[in-house]
């Protein structure tokens, strides 16, 4: 018999801890409600460490902390979720915040501070804690407390760190979910705004012209018998209204979705787009074949928005557009030689682009150092290749006619 062998009790404790960690990991993966998750983690921590209470707190910028999860033996926690408490220098939470490393306080007697007074008031004598770190910064901490001094065996704070890591993962999930929800909301909102704009353009443009044409034709109709010359003038007026209306409709339809993009693909559509830019636009590499429709559409609107931005804000003398296809994705690049300083968070245009690109599993990068031009790069996954484009376009399983 050697002293190195762990006792049955130690093994059981280890197993219980592993089981608790597994349960927390399952919670992290499955539960979208952060509050319930924190609650659950506290309970597991409390039980596996055999302590009197466990808390997860978020450190605030004003030097306080907010309890986001709490558990205590026998029910009501001393510091329930939602409560704000101060952070004192020599408490576990104070040390966590300062160092970002697991901490312990074996005896609160003799330590000073407002929080310590409150801990002592509820009978806490010792505690261990581990930091929860998000994006390189101490977000908060997980703290286990006991009514006995020196209650925690050596290394207890490090065991707590395993739970803290799971909380970190959970927070990353929550963050990703929140960002996704926000991005979705922005896409939906942008869709509504687009509809509103289209409605307004139709009312103010083509509809007005049609009404004008109708009035002119009515006036002409009344004069047909008595004053044919005047009638002719009104017909002429009606034709002018119609011409303006048709031009408006053409431009509107082309802005919604250029037909050439569907019919001829990205490179032809980009050539037109480049040709209509107010500055010279050099076209670089273009995809050698058609890409899936959502990719072509997104790529087109990335270029359209980027060129519009360049023309409006960049004060550039020329721009470059290229689309490279490799490794199952298309990279769209738009560069200008303007003033730089473009910021995706500032304008809704660039953020809208980022949202749409990410909805396709892509990424939008903006490099825009002040005075050194702007480069916008969108990487869009090609996804499942469209092997039979003709059939997809026809929709009824017909092949394109060959007239042979």
């Amino acid at each position: 018999m050697t002293n190195d062998r762990p006792s049955v009790a130690q093994l059981e404790a280890l197993l219980a801890e592993q089981a608790a960690l597994r349960r927390v990991a399952t919670l992290v993966a499955g539960d979208p409600d952060a509050g319930r998750l924190f609650e659950g983690v506290c309970e597991e921590v409390g039980r596996v460490l055999g302590v009197d209470s466990a808390n997860i707190t978020r450190f605030e910028d004003d030097g306080t902390q907010t309890v986001v999860g709490a558990w205590a033996v026998g029910g009501a926690p001393w510091f329930p979720a939602g409560e704000r408490v101060p952070i004192d220098g020599e408490t576990v939470s104070g040390k966590l915040r300062r160092t970002g490393r697991p901490q312990r306080v074996d005896e609160y007697a003799g330590v000073r501070g407002e929080l310590v007074r409150r801990l002592q008031a509820v009978g806490i004598k010792s505690a261990v804690g581990a930091p929860v770190t998000v994006a390189g910064r101490v977000w908060g901490g997980i703290v286990a407390s006991s009514g006995r001094p020196h209650a925690f065996p050596e290394g207890a704070e490090h065991r707590l760190a395993d739970f803290a890591e799971l909380v970190t993962a959970a927070l990353a999930n929550v963050d990703a979910r929140e960002q996704l929800a926000a991005s979705r909301a922005r896409i939906v909102q942008a869709g509504y705004e687009e509809r509103r704009r289209l409605g307004r353009d139709l009312h103010d443009g083509a509809q007005q012209d049609l009404v004008g044409a109708m009035i002119s034709l009515r006036l002409a109709q009344r004069r047909l018998a008595q004053a044919p010359d005047e009638a002719g003038e009104f017909v002429e007026e009606a034709l002018e209204h119609m011409e303006t209306g048709i031009r408006d409709l053409r431009e509107l339809a082309s802005g919604i979705h250029p037909s050439v993009l569907t019919d001829r693909g990205l490179s032809v559509a980009l050539e037109t787009l480049a040709g209509r830019s107010p500055m010279p636009v050099e076209l670089g590499e273009m995809p050698p074949q058609r890409l899936p429709a959502p990719v072509e559409t997104s790529a087109y609107f990335v270029v359209a928005e980027a060129l519009t931005n360049a023309a409006r804000h960049a004060r550039c003398s020329h721009a470059y557009v290229g689309v490279r296809v490799e490794d199952g994705s298309a990279t769209v690049e738009v560069r200008d030689d303007g003033v730089g300083g473009a910021d995706a968070s500032a304008g809704s245009g660039l953020r809208g682009l980022a949202d749409r690109v990410s909805a396709l599993g892509g990424r939008l990068e903006i490099e825009s150092p002040s005075g050194k031009g702007t480069t916008i790069r969108a990487r869009i996954a090609l996804g499942a290749p469209e092997t039979d484009r003709g059939a997809v376009r026809l929709g009824r399983g017909r092949q394109p006619p060959t007239y042979g």
């Binding site: 119609m242 011409e243 053409r250 037909s259 001829r264 050539e271 209509r276 107010p278 007239y403």
Partner: protein
């Protein structure tokens, strides 16, 4: 001059047929989709086919593809494509190899009956007719070291009319100058753009379009 009309909207087709009839053309057949159009053209061998760009069966650019097919297989028939799109890409594709007997006009141009009839006639005679707005877009492209900047205002006007497919005589009439004056402008333009002079109008169109596109 004998014409086949390809247009899927019955309303527009009947209007077109009436317009063409009143302008002195003989409409020998009508078609409601691209396949029927090619059949009718090959049965009647008209001087010109007037074709809507968007037609069944796929409702995309069947009209344009049918037009290109007709040019390839039946060179004695000219094709005038009517389009609701102000899109240089389609027009350039139509005249890619030869501008002879081809035209691309915005659909609403048909309302200007005389000019429309003139375009149909030109295309039927082996010339070309490119929409002025399409040409304006091509000319309006921003270029680095723009060679077009070396042209005078009058030369730009002449260049635009050339690209539309007008003859020197037509350009002279439009600008109210002598044909001799137009010839001098044309020589000057070709010199400034370093283009080879071309005798036939449709070759000239192709040279000009190729230049405008490549820049």
């Amino acid at each position: 001059m004998r014409v086949v009309v390809g247009e899927d909207s019955v309303l527009v087709r009947e209007g077109l047929v009436r317009l063409l009839g009143e302008a002195g053309f003989e409409v020998v057949a009508q078609a409601g989709d691209a396949e029927e159009l090619v059949r009718e053209v090959s049965a009647h061998r008209p001087d010109v086919a007037v074709v809507d760009i968007r037609m069944p069966p796929t409702e995309t650019d069947d009209g344009l593809r049918a037009a290109i097919e007709i040019r390839r297989r039946m060179p004695q028939t000219g094709v005038l494509v009517l389009s609701q799109y102000l899109e240089e890409g389609y027009a350039l594709e139509l005249v890619a190899d030869s501008a002879e007997g081809t035209g691309y006009l915005l659909k609403d141009r048909v309302a200007d009956v005389e000019r429309f009839a003139d375009s149909v006639r030109r295309v039927g005679e082996g010339g070309s007719a490119l929409d002025p707005e399409v040409v304006a877009h091509l000319l309006g492209r921003r270029r680095r070291d723009d060679p077009l900047a070396r042209l005078t205002k009058r030369e730009r006007e002449v260049l635009a009319l050339m690209a539309e497919g007008r003859s020197n005589q037509a350009i002279a009439e439009q600008l109210v100058v002598t044909e001799r004056a137009v010839e001098k402008h044309v020589t000057s333009i070709f010199g400034k753009l370093a283009l080879m002079p071309a005798a036939a109008d449709h070759r000239r169109v192709l040279a000009v379009l190729t230049f405008l596109r490549s820049q």
